[in-house]
């Protein structure tokens, strides 16, 4: 799949993750051969995936995992890091997901948590990846019940808040 990747997509390694200052628990999670069932279909090996386009303002992109052939990336440029979702088809730039690891994980949990289920059900999954804001996610989802038209905007605000609390923490 390497030849289908934009040339700026490079293999991620533990050493790269450490250099970029990613949380050790998160790096362990990325390289774990088996993930908690909560992550099934959403956190898979990058082996069968690729990202066709990396924009000019990103100098390097490292795939962390894939889902349905799309890669979740850590993108690097002169201003620092951000996390994005790269597309294997088309000519669209990766979609911005978050500024921080915790923001990225918050998105995974927003997508997977049933807010009516007990928190306990997700604690083991959160522990495996070092996610610290599970109760915030559940509170957010409960408060946003109904998923009205502003839900995506609410997610943006929520992720920005998590980023603000966790970047440099």
């Amino acid at each position: 799949m390497d030849d289908l990747n934009d040339p700026k997509v490079r293999p991620f390694s533990r050493a790269i993750g450490q250099q970029l200052g990613l949380e050790p628990k998160f790096i362990d999670f990325v390289f774990s051969p088996h993930h908690h069932d909560f992550f099934r279909y959403r956190v898979e090996s990058v082996g069968e995936s690729w990202t066709a386009i990396i924009p000019p303002d990103v100098s390097a992109a490292y795939p962390l995992w894939s889902s349905n052939g799309e890669q979740t990336l850590v993108c690097v440029n002169g201003e620092g890091l951000w996390f994005g979702l790269g597309w294997h088809d088309g000519s669209d730039d990766p979609e911005y997901l978050s500024k921080s690891v915790q923001g990225l994980l918050a998105r995974l949990f927003i997508d997977g948590v049933d807010p009516s289920a007990p928190l306990l059900e997700y604690e083991a999954a959160a522990e495996t990846c070092g996610f610290r804001y599970l109760s915030d996610v559940v509170s957010f989802l409960r408060a946003s019940a109904g998923h009205d038209g502003a839900f995506q905007e609410k997610i943006w605000h929520f992720i920005n808040e998590i980023d603000g609390r966790s970047v440099g923490a």
Partner: protein
Amino acid sequence: MDRAYQISWLLERYGGLLRGLVGVPLEQAWLVLDEPNMVIHPASPIVLNLGGTQVELWSVYLTDFTMTSGEIDIRQAPFNWNGESPFGAAWSTDASPLVASRVGRVVSAVTFLSEPANHCRGVEIQFFDGSLLVVANYFDELFLGDEVPSDFGFARTAVGRPC
């Protein structure tokens, strides 16, 4: 001054390449070792492989400094003459412990150093862990350091990070 030593020309020629190094690791670094005397040959370039991009940093004459990219075939002996180096020089990855220690680190910024204005004297490569690799020409001496000595009086022009 030859344009190859001017910051403005270097930015125009290599600015995009250098900005593209942010986020990639220093994979290998070579210096020319004068093996009979076991010293670094200071008039030879330091060659860096940064994420597959080869960058050659040159100290030239008394105070000039410039760079090239992909111009040197590291498989050939330095000063190659019929397949050999005429005075026993060889490419070395461990001639400088400082340089060797930077291998594997990921670049976060690149900065040109100048004195006087627009006259390139060196390059500072910053890594995500906060460490630096400084390569400069300090009056005909190839300077390799982990910081820019303040008494050098160099001005700084950021390349790999928006100014």
